[in-house]
Amino acid sequence: MKAAFFATCLGDQFYADACADAVRLLRHVGVDVDVPQSQTCCGQPAYNAGRRSEAIRMAHQTLNAFDGSDYVVLASGSCAGMVRCFYPDLVNDDPKLAQALADRTYELSHFLVEVVGVQDLGSGLTGKRIAYHHSCHALRELGVRDEPISLLKKCGAEVVTWEADEECCGFGGLFSVKLPEVSAAMADRKLDTLPDVDFVTSTDGGCLLQLSGRGSRRRASTQFRHLASALWEGVGI
């Protein structure tokens, strides 16, 4: 099975190691991974800011970059959501092409469970207590709720109950810098309800930047790891 990996702008710069772990993970389960070099940004920052015409240009860049790929896999729920849920309407000069890309684009855990059909990864997370933060876009746009948790559990982790696990972390792209105080209060609500865990994980780098940045400002010792890295650790190689 062949898949093209879309690192995303944020992943390339801030979660590079997690992206590399995602590639390792995909190869480990037998996927032939390619990384098209003309990929940049899916356009979500512009789209969410109300800048449709700029978002369309970035969508075209992405459509060209992944033209001909069997599958496109992202270690990000929100960027995968952008391609899957919003491209077909956004790219109105070629909605068929956009729909075709949408149909073969997957968030990493979604891809592992639904397309690869991963049964077993390893036991590298045995004894680890982990909190999973549901990224809003993975949860509500893609409907990815059980996939990451089942994979973490398969690796031996205990995924703890967390009262605010489905609440927004307050990132929201530009929202976090336009309304920083409200955004930080939203992160505080997450951190204040967090049980004692070895680390917090999520499939979205944006959420992790927000939660770890706020945690660090509050001098909390909580650890944060991207889902791709957590699962690669779970493989235990």
């Binding site: 690192a7 702008c9 992943g11 390339d12 710069q13 801030f14 979660y15 590079a16 190691d17 992206c19 590399a20 590639v23 390792r24 990384v35 070099q37 003309s38 940049t40 940004c41 356009g43 920052p45 512009a46 969410n48 800011a49 109300g50 800048r51 449709r52 700029e54 240009r57 970035m58 860049q61 809003c136 876009h137 509500r140 746009e141 489905e166 609440e167 927004c168 307050g170 990132f171 929201g172 530009l174 929202f175 976090s176 810098v177 336009k178 309304l179 920083p180 105080e181 409200v182 955004s183 930080a184 209060a185 939203m186 609500r189 930047l209 927000q210 770890s212 940045g213 660090s216 400002r217």
Partner: protein, 464 residues
């Protein structure tokens, strides 16, 4: 207090978090309860099906509004009610003023009505020398404090039990640790006299049934029943979007609204008002006036996307679930309707410039879309208004320039990665405060730690 307007939201929300941390605590705990109740109430029914049906009924009405409004007027008149049309808040207050002077009204009792808040009814009546008394317990508390409602359904949601205990201790001498029932009993006793003395009862309207000319009202306290039946004159303030075709529709919508708002299968009291007291009846008002209010609604209806927001049944579920609303409560939004619904109707009703930056007061998490009983596509409409704000040049210049430059770079992968590498190696915690967009980030958070080697570099070097 009076509302400061949506434009002040950024400073008002930051100020609220700083000065009133107790509000955040109270609102989070109250909405936690509301969310649990709604969720349980939805699970008892096929809520997906009900919500689809609710959406369809309301959309049908809005696409045939002229016809239903005419039918409703005809039926109301046939029932003996008087019908008035108000295009603006000013017109509505003028009509109310005329009723007050025609009937020599000295005192009024009010049932909870967000439309009356929107119009500024209390202030206006007081200026005319009319004694006005709110009779919903939450609204009563708000009125005693000289405050404003912070939530569509729970106007006093931002107040803690202690706040209320202190207020009632001062006003009625109840003990400082008086249980809620004791406070409610004190209010009931004080309000009973007001009900008996009032010449005028003012209510809102949950649904106006076109086929029968019936004003339908949902409540839990019984104050609406008293306000609309004891005084000799009843005025119902009705937003033109409140119309539904027939009684059967209302029987479903009342249940759906109750489940979404308070998690009840149905409100404790349902009033179906069919005109004034008839000759053979003992109770009821001598005159019923229905004021049909536009005040920006047709402007919202004319928008090819945002008209869907007019389906709103004012249940407050989107406020309860909204993580943005929950941090501050409703006051920082700066006008009558707060939370997600407020943010999508403000640009249509007030004007996009006047409503800024409310369409941006959302992380687009979509939790509201999951709970809306009439399936208003709230996140889509937030994006719709953001696009309009960009078109009208209402967003900061630096943001516009930044996104344009970013897009240009994104179309040239080599430049994109070179620029990202420069940014990545800046000491962001130190210089972030001087950079326009990062400033907001480092104000509240540590700067992100960049990867020592970008993913693309790692890929080129070979991933083992």
């Amino acid at each position: 207090m009076s509302f400061s307007g949506p434009n002040k939201y950024p400073t008002a929300s930051a100020q609220a978090l700083k000065d009133k941390p107790g509000v955040r605590e109270t609102v989070i705990s109250a909405t936690n309860i509301a969310n649990k109740k709604r969720s349980a109430a939805y699970q008892q029914i096929d809520s997906d099906m009900w919500r689809n049906w609710g959406r369809d009924v309301k959309s049908h009405v809005l696409t045939n509004l002229d016809r239903y409004l005419e039918q409703a007027e005809k039926q109301l008149l046939a029932n003996g009610a008087k019908v008035h049309w108000a295009e603006t808040a000013h017109d509505a207050l003028g009509l109310l003023e005329k009723i007050v002077s025609d009937h020599g009204i000295g005192s009024a009792v009010k049932a909870k009505s967000m439309l009356s808040e929107e119009l500024g009814v209390n202030e206006h009546l007081e200026e005319l020398g009319v004694h006005v008394r709110e009779t919903d317990l939450g609204e009563y508390i708000i009125q005693l404090l000289g405050d404003r409602p912070s939530h569509i359904v729970g106007p006093a949601m931002h107040l803690s039990l202690e706040d209320c205990q202190r207020l009632f201790h001062e006003k009625f001498g109840t003990p400082l640790d008086g249980r809620p029932e004791i406070l409610a009993a004190a209010a009931r006793e004080a309000l009973r006299e007001e009900f008996l003395a009032a010449d005028l009862g003012i209510s809102g309207c949950n649904f106006l049934i076109a086929e029968t000319g019936t004003v339908a009202l949902i409540e839990n306290e019984g104050n609406i029943r008293l306000s609309t039946s004891l005084p000799r004159i009843h005025v119902a303030l009705v937003g033109i979007e409140k119309i539904v075709p027939c009684l059967e529709d209302v029987s479903g919508l009342i249940q759906l609204t109750s489940r979404a708002a308070t998690g009840q299968p149905i409100g404790n009291f349902i009033s179906l008002i069919q005109g004034p007291k008839r000759d053979d009846e003992i109770d009821g008002p001598e005159e019923v006036h229905v004021i049909l209010v536009d005040n920006g609604r047709t402007r919202l209806l004319a928008d090819d996307k945002a008209w869907e927001a007019l389906r709103c049944v004012r249940c407050g579920a989107c406020l309860n679930i909204c993580p943005v609303y929950r941090q501050t409560g409703g006051h920082p939004y700066g006008w009558t309707y707060s939370g997600p619904i407020g943010a999508i109707i403000a640009p249509g009703m007030l004007g996009i410039k006047e409503a800024m930056p409310l369409p941006y007061a959302s992380s687009l998490c979509g939790a509201c879309v999951d709970v809306c009983p009439v399936r208003i596509p709230i996140t889509e409409l937030l994006l719709h208004w953001r696009e309009r704000a960009v078109e009208e040049g209402l967003t900061p210049g630096i943001e516009s320039a930044g996104i344009k430059a970013y897009t240009k770079a994104a179309e040239r992968p080599g430049i994109f990665r070179a620029a990202a590498a420069v940014l990545r190696h800046l000491p962001l915690n130190a210089v972030g405060r001087a950079l326009p967009i990062l400033r907001g980030w480092v104000k509240e958070r540590s700067a992100p730690a960049s990867s020592s080697k970008s993913f693309m570099r790692q890929w080129k070097d070979g991933i083992k």
